[in-house]
Symmetry: C2
Subunit: 343 residues, 2 copies
DNA sequence: CCGGCTGGATGAAACGTTTTAGCCGCTATA
DNA sequence: TATAGCGGCTAAAACGTTTCATCCAGCCGG
C-alpha cells in the first residue's frame, strides 16, 4: 500500500540505489541492459517518485505560484492561462492562489508558498502601498514578478498594460468619428486603472485641440448597474447637451449603458456611440457588439512567467525588467457610425 | 542567504533541535521561558519552516488539488471558491490545476500531484469513459472526489447537481404560467447536462398531461451565437406555431435568444418567455433580466472539499457518499408574465 | 607486463524535519 | 528514606532523494 521507494526498486532490479536515481535523472549514463531492468522494476512496483524528498535535496521546488486578486475574474483567468502555458512548457507546475483582495489571505498564501520553497511568485498584490511581504520573499532569494501593478520597483520585474495609451486609443477613435460631446464613465478614481484611462482620454482630447468637450461622470463601481445609473443621468440632460459618445472605464459599465439607452429608445451607435474597456467575452455577444480596448491578457501572463523563469535560472546575473504592453482598440458596431463633423 | 534551519535556531537559542520542533508543533509542552527564547531566535534568524522536509517525514503533504476543465469557466471558478474556503479553514492549501479538457494534460497533472503526495484530489474528469488514472490514485490511497460527473462509481465520493430536476423546475414554471407551445433549445445532446435538462423538461410536461407541446431545437454549441441562430429559426415559423416560451440549456443560449428576439421586435416576456440555465452573473444584468435555473456552485465545491477532507482523515473508516444537490429556479422578468390558459 | 583511462556501477553523506525513547532532577507519596 | 511519577529536555533514528567520491573491470598504448 505504502508506495514503493527507490530502495525497493533497486533491490528488485538487483542494482544499487544510486543507479536507480541515475536511470531517473541521467538515463544515458547507465548501460542499456541495466536501465531496462530498472525501468521494468519501476513499472512492476508502480514506483512514483517522491517529490518532497527530491525537493528537500534540491533546496527548492519545481512549482511556480501565481497569486491573483480574484480567481473568478476573467482578466485573471486569462493571465493564469497564459502563465500556465509557459510554466508547463518549462516542466514546472503552476499553482493558483486566490487572495480575494484580502491582504491577510495574501500574506498567509505567501507564507505557505515560502515554506514550500516555491521557485517564484507571480502576483498582483492587494493594495498599492509598500509590500514588506514581497520584499521579504525577494530577500530570501525567491523571485517575484508583479502583474499589472506597481511598475516602478527596482528589485523585481513587472509586466503591465499601458492604460493611459488605452484611454488615448478610445478617445482618438471617437474624435475620428466626428464626436464633439463625449463622456467618460467610470470610478472610483482611486483605482489606478480608472484614473489612467481617464488621463489618456483627456490627454488625447487636449492634443487634438478639436474643441470637443469631455464630461466625466464618476461611478461608484465598475458594474452593469452602475452603468445603467450613469446612462440615466446622461438621459436626464437636455438633448443638446447630451454626449453623442461615451467611453467607459470597463465593459460592464458599457453594457449597462447600452442596455439603458436602448431601453429608453436611443439607438446605438446612431444616437450615442459607446466604447468599453477590457474586451470581455460578452463584448462581442452584446445586443449591439461593443467596441472595446483589449488588453493582451494571456500575453501578460506568458511574459510574466518568462521573466520569472529567467530570473530563477541559476547562473547568469539577472537584470530586472519592466515590460509594458500596448492595448489595442477593437472596433465593433457600438461605435462604428461616423458623424459629419460639426460644432 | 540560504534560509536558516531548525538546527541553527536551536544553537542560537541554546536548546536542542527537538525542543525547537516542539515549540513549533506542541508549544504547550515546553517551558514558557525556553519557548520564548526559541521564538526570539526564530524571529531574529528569520527562520521559515521547510515544508519539503516536513512532508517527507509526514509522508504526505497538506495540500489538496482541484483539477478543473477550464479555469476561465465561471462555473468552475465558483466551485473553486467554495472548495478553497473549506480547505483553507482546515489549514490546508488548495492548488488549482487546469486540464483544459485535454486528457493528456489531465494525466500529466495527476502524475505530478501524485509525486507531490497531495492529500486528495477534487476533479471533473475529461470525458466520460473509465478513468484508469483516477483508479490508480485511489489504489495508492489518495482520496478522489468527483465533481459534477459520473456519480455512480463505488470507490470514490462525488458531488453533482440534479439536472433532470432542473429541467422539471423550468418546465413546471412555464406550464404554470399558462404556456402551451414551448421549445427546448440546446445541444449537442451528447453532453450529459444538455440531455438531462431536456429529459427533466419532457418528463414534467408528460406528467402534467396539459396537452402542451415541446419542440426541441438542437444547437451545435452552447453559445450566444447559437442562441441567436436558434431564435431566427423560431422566428421563421408561422406565428400560430411559434412557441410562446423557450427553455434554454444554458444562459448563453438564452441571452442570444433574447437579443435576437428583441432585435426583431418581439417583446420578452409578453410575446415569448425565456428561461435559461446556470444563472450566470449576466443573467441578472441582461436587458431583460433572465429567469434561470441556479446551481449551488460554491456549495458544490464546499461539500466536495468536505467529503475529501473527511476521507483523508486518518482513523475512522470512511464510507463513500454521492451527494446530489437540487437546483433552484430564479424567476426574473424574462418569464414573469402569466398568460390566460387557452388551448 | 604495467600504468592509466574509461564506462558503469556502488556506498555514503546530506538535505531539514518529526518523533520516539530515554534521561535528569524534582516533588509527592508511602 | 526509597520510589514512583512527572515536567522538561536531549539524542538519535527515520523519511526518500540526489550527488559525489570511489571502486572495479576491462582495455589500450607503451
Amino acid at each position: 500500500m505504502a508506495t514503493a521507494n527507490i530502495k525497493e526498486v533497486a533491490r528488485h532490479a538487483g542494482v544499487s540505489l544510486g543507479t536507480v536515481s541515475n536511470v531517473l535523472n541521467r538515463p544515458d549514463t547507465v548501460a542499456p541492459a541495466t536501465r531496462q531492468r530498472v525501468l521494468d522494476a519501476i513499472t512492476t512496483l508502480g514506483y512514483v517518485r517522491n517529490d518532497s524528498a527530491r525537493q528537500l535535496r534540491a533546496g527548492h521546488s519545481r512549482t511556480v505560484a501565481i497569486v491573483v486578486l480574484d480567481v473568478a475574474n476573467p482578466f485573471f483567468t486569462d493571465v493564469v492561462r497564459g502563465a500556465e502555458q509557459v510554466v508547463e512548457e518549462a516542466g514546472a507546475m503552476l499553482v493558483v492562489c486566490n487572495s480575494g483582495e484580502d491582504s491577510a489571505r495574501e500574506r498567509r498564501h505567501l507564507e505557505l508558498l515560502e515554506e514550500q520553497r516555491v521557485r517564484g511568485v507571480l502576483i498582483t498584490p492587494v493594495g498599492h502601498g509598500p509590500q514588506p511581504n514581497l520584499d521579504k520573499l525577494i530577500d530570501r532569494g525567491i523571485p517575484v514578478v508583479l502583474v499589472d501593478r506597481g511598475t516602478g520597483r527596482a528589485n523585481r520585474c513587472s509586466v503591465a498594460v499601458d492604460d493611459v495609451l488605452g484611454g488615448r486609443l478610445a478617445m482618438d477613435h471617437l474624435l475620428d468619428q466626428g464626436h464633439h460631446r463625449i463622456a467618460y464613465l467610470g470610478g472610483p478614481l482611486s483605482i489606478a486603472q480608472v484614473a489612467d484611462r481617464h488621463a489618456g482620454a483627456a490627454a488625447a482630447l487636449e492634443e487634438r485641440d478639436s474643441g470637443a468637450e469631455l464630461r466625466v461622470a464618476v461611478t461608484g463601481s465598475l458594474t452593469v448597474a452602475a452603468g445603467r445609473r450613469a446612462a440615466e443621468e446622461l438621459l436626464a440632460l437636455p438633448a443638446r447637451q447630451r454626449p453623442t459618445a461615451v467611453f467607459c472605464a470597463n465593459d460592464l459599465i458599457a453594457l449597462g449603458v447600452l442596455q439603458e439607452l436602448t431601453a429608453r429608445g436611443l439607438r446605438v451607435p446612431a444616437d450615442v456611440a459607446i466604447v468599453g474597456y477590457d474586451d470581455i467575452e460578452f463584448a462581442d455577444a452584446a445586443a449591439v457588439p461593443l467596441s472595446s480596448v483589449r488588453q493582451p491578457r494571456d500575453q501578460l501572463g506568458r511574459t510574466a512567467a518568462q521573466l520569472l523563469l529567467e530570473e530563477a535560472e541559476p547562473g547568469d546575473a539577472h537584470r530586472h525588467r519592466h515590460v509594458v504592453f500596448q492595448p489595442e482598440l477593437v472596433v465593433r458596431r457600438s461605435s462604428d457610425h461616423p458623424r459629419r463633423a460639426r460644432r
